[in-house]
Symmetry: C2
Subunit: 208 residues, 2 copies
């Protein structure tokens, strides 16, 4: 029995932690890319998920490591305990931002697709994630989104069946200084995807 | 203005989602490995973090993609709102299990290092994560852990300064059927790391 086999003397612990654990640059060496968060924000129906999925698919075909966080995989799991009150929506975004931070630390190109209508919550995410936060404003007018209404939600919101619906009964605060603006009402999908990829290349997150 | 540019007809949506989004097998193709969760459980001082860090380092040197979830990166961020009551500790583990599930879906070898003393919470994590959940019991006796006491926590717990301390004033429920048992009081670190790597190879999570 060797009680000390795995024991690190306290005075060595900080040093040892750094030297014996995998750091972000070690992951980058393995994967040949740098982690970033593409934070897609915009009205319901603006095309966030469509663009995010198309960007992810293109990156995967380039051999890049990606992950998409959206309502489908977050709301049903990590945030299944949360509803849609303003408080719960803010807690949802707080958790998503923290998970995105872990994914960036894991060195993945991380795509986040939530309406995230409030400047303050996006600002918090930016502060948390730091220099690798890329705000992508998926900019389609309310008129365009309501005409599309892919899930029939605007119709329900107009009928008063959904409370606090962004754009109808709750504000969408337009990004003040997003890294990328995609006019999905005017530009087609391939153009939007190219713009995002060009950004990632220009900032050396992926090879040109 | 083209209101329908990004609009998918409702009847095509399930099909389209699958065909236009990156699935787990697409990520596996890029990375040449299969995602798994190595869930390290054991008493404070048993060597969970030491072994987990050493396993991660070895995997990184083999060019494998990994991520370690532990108190250092989870407690200060995603779970910063939680304390150490039994309820909060269970919520902490619930969130960790959900995040680990996302990382497995992202196809990473995901290492989780928390005491996680209760069978029910580990069972919940196993159910959630499914067949890729690998329970690693870091098995050192209370005597060994207390002799090591690397953070001086046992001394404080014995003095009554820490409530609900696992092994002293709160139970540690020994895993009933863990995939891997590491006797860190008897086996040295390299032997422990080899055992975990052999398991991952034998189950084809990484190449032999």
């Amino acid at each position: 029995m060797n009680a000390g086999a795995l024991h690190t003397p306290p005075e060595d612990r900080n040093l040892t932690r750094h030297e014996t654990s995998v750091q972000r640059e070690d992951r980058a060496r393995v994967s040949g890319q740098r982690g970033a968060v593409l934070w897609f924000t915009g009205l319901s129906g603006s095309g966030k998920s469509t663009v995010a999925n198309a960007v992810e698919l293109r990156l995967n075909r380039l051999g890049r490591l990606t992950y998409l966080l959206d309502g489908d995989n977050v709301r049903s799991g990590l945030c299944a305990d949360l509803g849609f009150s303003n408080e719960d929506r803010q807690e949802n975004i707080r958790r998503v931002a923290h998970v995105a931070r872990l994914f960036v630390d894991a060195n993945l190109i991380t795509l986040v697709s939530f309406i995230s209508p409030f400047r303050q919550e996006r600002r918090n995410a930016r502060t948390l994630i730091g220099g690798d936060f890329v705000e992508v404003f998926v900019d389609a007018s309310l008129q365009v989104c309501e005409d599309r209404d892919p899930k029939g939600l605007y119709k329900k919101a107009r009928a008063g069946a959904i409370a606090d619906f962004t754009g109808i009964s709750s504000p969408y605060e337009i990004p003040e200084n997003p890294e990328i603006v995609l006019k999905t009402g005017k530009e087609n999908l391939d153009v939007c995807v190219d713009r995002v990829l060009d950004y990632l290349k220009s900032r050396k997150y992926i090879a040109p």
